[in-house]
Symmetry: C2
Subunit: 213 residues, 2 copies
DNA sequence: ATATATTTGTTATTATTTTCACATTCAGAC
DNA sequence: GTCTGAATGTGAAAATAATAACAAATATAT
C-alpha cells in the first residue's frame, strides 16, 4: 500500500460500496469478492480492488473480503465511525425532504438543527425537530457541535447562508442550490445539483441519438 | 470542430454553464468571455472553451460570446429546445419535493404524472397534480408522451418500479434510490445519491485531515 | 490604414484514472 | 504434505481528461 492522493471518484465509490456492504451484512452474507461487489454496484472488479488498495489490504487471496470487517473499514475511512451533527438551512419542500431523508439520519449523521427565515415556517415541527429562526444558529452550532451545514434555500439566499455558516465556524458545506458559492479555501464544499443528471438524460436521448453515437 | 465522444463531465458542465447564462441573460448581460463563465461556475477558462469546442464555434475572438446566442445553443445541445414530460414515482417527502422543485418544472421539463402505491397518498394534490395509482401509469405514459421516469421510492421498491418503467417503454430513468438498478442496455439511467457527497465531506474532514493531505 | 489589446479555437503537453494481466497467497481436497 | 482452484494486490499499459500555450481573428483607438 502506498499513500498518495485519493481520487474523489474513489471516495464516491467507497461510499457506494459501503452501502452495498451494509445490505449484504443485513442479509447475513459473510464473505464477498471484488467481483460480487462490482456486480452489485455497477463497476469493474479491478476498480473495486484498486479503490480499496488506496487504504490497505482488507481481503484474503483466494477467498475475498469479510463483509463485516470490510464494512467497518469503509465506514472508518469515510469518517463514519464518529457522530456528525448537521444543520439544514431552508425548511421548504427540499429542506423538509432532507430532514426526513434516511441517508441524513442513519449511519453517524444526525440533524441537529433546521433553520429558516420565513416566520410562517419557524416553530413548525419536522419529526421531532422544530424549525428555528436564523438568530438561533450561533448558539445551536456550539451546543450541538455542528461542523457541517446543508444549504436547501433558493439560489437568491444561498450565498448569504454560506457566509453565515462560514462566520459561525462550520467546516464543510453541502449545497443544493444550483449556484457556485464563494467560500474560503479551508471550507470543504460540494454541490448537489438535482437537475444536472436529468439534463444528461435529455442530452443522451436527443443530441447523442441524432449523431448515432 | 471535430466530432468525437463527448465526455459526460463536459455535458455536466454544459448544463451548469447554461444555467449561469440564464442568470446573466436575466440580468441583462449581453456578452460574456470564457473567463467570466469560468469564474462564475468555478472551472478554468480553457475548460469552458474546450467543452464548447465539442459542439462548434460559438464565440468571436477578441470579444467573447453573445449571451443569448450561447444560451440558445447550450439549451439546444442539451435537448432542452423541446418539451419533456416526466413521470415521478413515489409521492413521499422526496417525491413531493421533486414535484415542486424548480429544476424539474422550468426550462422544457413538465411533470406529467406522480404515482404511488400507498392508498393514503393516492388522490392527494401536489400543486395542480394529483397522485395517481400505479395502474394509471400505462395510460398516462401514452397520453402524455412520457419518455423519462424519476424514481423517488424506497430502495426496496426501486427495481420493481424500474421494471415497470421499462415495460411501459420509457427510455430514460433518473434514480434517487441508493441502489444499482438492473435495466436493459438501451435504457439511459443515471443515479442521484443525495448522501454520497455528504460522505465525501466527512471523508475530507476526517481521513484526509489525519493524513495532512 | 495600422497598431494594439483581447479573447477565441485548437494543438501539444501533462496529469489522472481506468483497465489489464499476472504473480502471489490462501483454503480445501485428497 | 501437496496440489488445485480461486481471488487478491499491484505494476505496467492504455485510455481519458485537464491544462497550458499560442496562432488566428476581431474590435477599437489613433
Amino acid at each position: 500500500m502506498k499513500t498518495l492522493r485519493v481520487p474523489e471518484a474513489t471516495v464516491t465509490r467507497l461510499s457506494i460500496y459501503s452501502r452495498f456492504l451494509e445490505r449484504l451484512d443485513k442479509n447475513g452474507v459473510t464473505t464477498v469478492s471484488s467481483g460480487e461487489i462490482a456486480e452489485g454496484v455497477g463497476v469493474s472488479p479491478a476498480q473495486v480492488r484498486k479503490d480499496l488498495a488506496y487504504f490497505g489490504e482488507f481481503g484474503t487471496r483466494g477467498v475475498g473480503y469479510n463483509v463485516k470487517d470490510l464494512l467497518k473499514y469503509t465506514l472508518k475511512i469515510l469518517g463514519l465511525d464518529q457522530p456528525w451533527s448537521l444543520a439544514i438551512f431552508g425548511a421548504g419542500n427540499l429542506g423538509f425532504a432532507l430532514c426526513t431523508y434516511r441517508g441524513f439520519n442513519i449511519r453517524s449523521f444526525h440533524i441537529a438543527g433546521v433553520f429558516d427565515n420565513d416566520p410562517t415556517r419557524i416553530g413548525k415541527k419536522i419529526g421531532n425537530l422544530e424549525v428555528q429562526p436564523l438568530d438561533k444558529f450561533p448558539e445551536i452550532v456550539k451546543s450541538e457541535n455542528i461542523r457541517i451545514g446543508v444549504i436547501a434555500v433558493p439560489v437568491s439566499a444561498a450565498q448569504e447562508v454560506a457566509d453565515l455558516m462560514v462566520k459561525n465556524g462550520l467546516e464543510a458545506i453541502l449545497n443544493f442550490a444550483p449556484v457556485a458559492l464563494n467560500v474560503p479555501d479551508h471550507i470543504e464544499i460540494r454541490n448537489v445539483d438535482l437537475s444536472v443528471k436529468l439534463e444528461i438524460l435529455t442530452f443522451n436521448l436527443g443530441f447523442r441519438a441524432a449523431q448515432n453515437l
